[in-house]
């Protein structure tokens, strides 16, 4: 037996590691830096991260946005298309508290306010969201509604995946919106994407809203605030903080127009006085217990449009 066959595996690993390192370092300072992605990752795993999350490499400027949508102004107020019914930006009103359920920007003549509804109201409701929405479909007891939800669903992949929707079969979101009979579409996404550059996230969120509107021109779109997290969960990461979630939610709230794009925030029934999810509501700090979803659904029944 030749002695050097004992080093074959080691050599193979070392050579591959060097190749990955060099390629990763190059990508990190070129492609990734432009998109603001993976800047904290070690060079050797950059290529893996790029394979796993290709959507993170989309540069904010090149994210698809429909021509009607003006640039996002986080301070609210947009003077370009004041009469455009699809304009989701908020007229300037710094007094709007996005954490108050059912608060609508008062700039419109007759803003819709939420009111109690029967369960049958949700017969033609579509809920789009991530694992919290999935949890609601499983434990909330609202079996007459339709759910398009999955663990890890994001604004970047919402239109790329096929999911089992029960009555409508396994379809993409486009197919579901085109063929389904929905008069209200609930959307709760964003928290999965908080690790991405904020502008990239919000711009993509907006394009999702616009695409829903395009496929379902007559439905009410109800944007839901992302659920908060417990204090213990917030200390575990940097980007998953209450501040970031609140910033995201208030940006989402600004997209509502009080007429056909509305905003709801369920957090007050689950959070403490500081805005953190109460510890006894969640096992892992970010998902409510199965038994809590019933309360969420009951709250939705009190807040229909």
């Amino acid at each position: 037996m030749k002695k050097n066959h004992y080093f074959v595996l080691l050599k193979a690993i070392v050579i591959t590691a060097l190749v990955l390192f060099i390629a990763g370092a190059i990508c990190k300072v070129t492609v990734c830096r432009k998109a603001g992605a993976f800047q904290n990752d070690p060079a050797i795993t950059i290529l893996f991260s790029m394979i796993r999350q290709p959507e993170a490499l989309k540069v904010p400027d090149t994210v698809v946005s429909t021509p009607d949508v003006p640039p996002i102004n986080p301070d609210g107020g947009n003077t370009d298309n004041p009469d455009d019914p699809e304009d989701p930006s908020e007229p300037t009103d710094p007094g709007t508290d996005p954490n108050e359920p059912g608060t609508e920007p008062p700039g419109n003549d007759t803003p819709l306010t939420p009111h109690p509804v029967e369960r049958s109201y949700f017969d033609d409701a579509l809920f789009i969201g991530d694992s919290r929405t999935l949890g609601m479909s499983q434990y909330g007891g609202l079996d007459n509604a339709t759910f398009f939800a999955d663990v890890g669903l994001t604004v970047f992949n919402a239109f790329d995946v096929s999911l089992d929707t029960g009555n409508y079969g396994t379809v993409t979101l486009s197919q579901l919106l085109s063929s389904g009979n929905f008069s209200k579409v609930y959307l709760m996404l964003g928290i999965n994407e908080l690790g991405y550059p904020f502008e990239s996230l919000t711009s993509q969120y907006l394009s999702v809203v616009n695409k829903i509107r395009e496929l379902k021109p007559d439905a009410k779109i109800i944007l839901m605030a992302n659920l908060s997290l417990t204090y213990n969960a917030s200390v575990r990461t940097s980007y998953l903080s209450l501040d970031n979630i609140n910033k995201l939610n208030s940006t989402i709230a600004s997209y509502a127009n009080g007429k056909d794009i509305l905003y709801l925030d369920v957090n007050p029934i689950f959070t403490d006085e500081n805005g953190y999810l109460k510890e006894d509501v969640s096992g892992d700090g970010v998902h409510p217990y199965g038994s809590e979803y019933v309360k969420w659904v009951e709250w939705l029944c009190q807040n229909g449009f």
Binding site: L9, P42, R52, Y139, G152, Y289
Partner: protein, 451 residues
Amino acid sequence: MSFNDINFIFLFLPVFLLIYYGLPSFCRNIVLLLGSIAFLLVGGYKNPIILILPIAEIILAYLLALGMEAKRKLALPLLVVYLLGAFGVLLGFKYAGLFTGKSIILPGGISFYTFQLTGYMMDVYRQKMPPEKSLLNFSAGMLMFPKFLSGPIVPWKSLKPQLESRTLTAKKFDNGLRTFIIGLALKTLVADRIGGLWSQLGAIGYSSISTPLAWLGIMAYSLQLFFDFYGYSVMAIGIGRMLGFELPENFLFPYASKSMSDFWRRWHVTLGAWFRDYVYIPLGGSRNGKKALVFNLFVVWVMTGVWHGSTLNFLIWSMFIFGLIVAEKLSGGRFPGKNPVLTRIYMIFAIMISWMFFAITDLKDIGVYLGRLFPITGKFSGAFEGDFVFYLKQYGIYIAIGIAICLPWTKKVWLRLRSTPIFTVMLFILFWLSIYCLSGGMNDPFMYFSF
């Protein structure tokens, strides 16, 4: 810093190995000592106690052991001083959290090096071996990073000759590397994949899961716990081998055992050996009649429960096992008997239920979970229809793989084929697959699932 960490695998370990192999052989123990200190500092620089405490205990043990030999009359008092100090500190850290209400993190490795050092002290006291004269060898052996954080607990008798003389060969290195990769794959590709299920059940809340899912859950937890610890132990052996050491096996296919007594000779072998050599046998073991046997086992299992954790559920766990072992030992062989099928069925249920007590800290939650396993009474908030199938689809393949490879046939295959070209390719793939999975967990605080 742990072994399944990108920085450890691509930064610390290569640099350490280059220095270790590059310098002449008489430097190796110094390099090992300094490297282990660096390992602890990198992982625990925010909490230097992780290094200061073991170094203090090592130096104290070194000096007191020499003192025991120099003045035999003082041997017992010196031993008692050391035991009180070492166990006092260990118990202090374990229970401080309960008394102060704050959650205090145990300094890494403390349960392991406390046992390692006290075992040494007791062997010197009983004059089973002379005290170690070389402080360098002693501290290198006690602090060495392959086994510092999670064992195996190695008796000084088997460590000493290896510290004094060991050879490095290409074959050993290659062997160690392959072993390390297998351990990494077991932890990252099996344990971490299966582990998501138990976390998700915790997030759902035990009162909202169906009975089949409850059983699937503890089966998954049993596999996750095993592959996690087993994988880490295999990594430790692999690294040790790359450094010229033969560290002992900690797991001998425990899930193939036919009785609880047998199981605990195969699970965390070095811990069981420690309790046997330093508690059970000194107390008299089984030599003084049935009552003494039961009492001695009781002491061992109370200590085992406390060693594993400071909350009450660990005592319930260890007493559950104690009960089964006593029943086995007093039954004269009738329980659980010798039938290969019945004994295995007994063990599967006994193990899964015992791990349930181990996994759940809150006693009320234990009650809820038992109610889900055996749905006679108990809190049930309602599960969603098809929850068992839903999670089986997600985790079934990993659970099936886990069950398949936790049996002895894998070791036979491994020993015969590990150096063949096919296995070389397989290990290369497993390595990078593991790194891929590790890199995915880096940014995700909730490693098992993006949400």
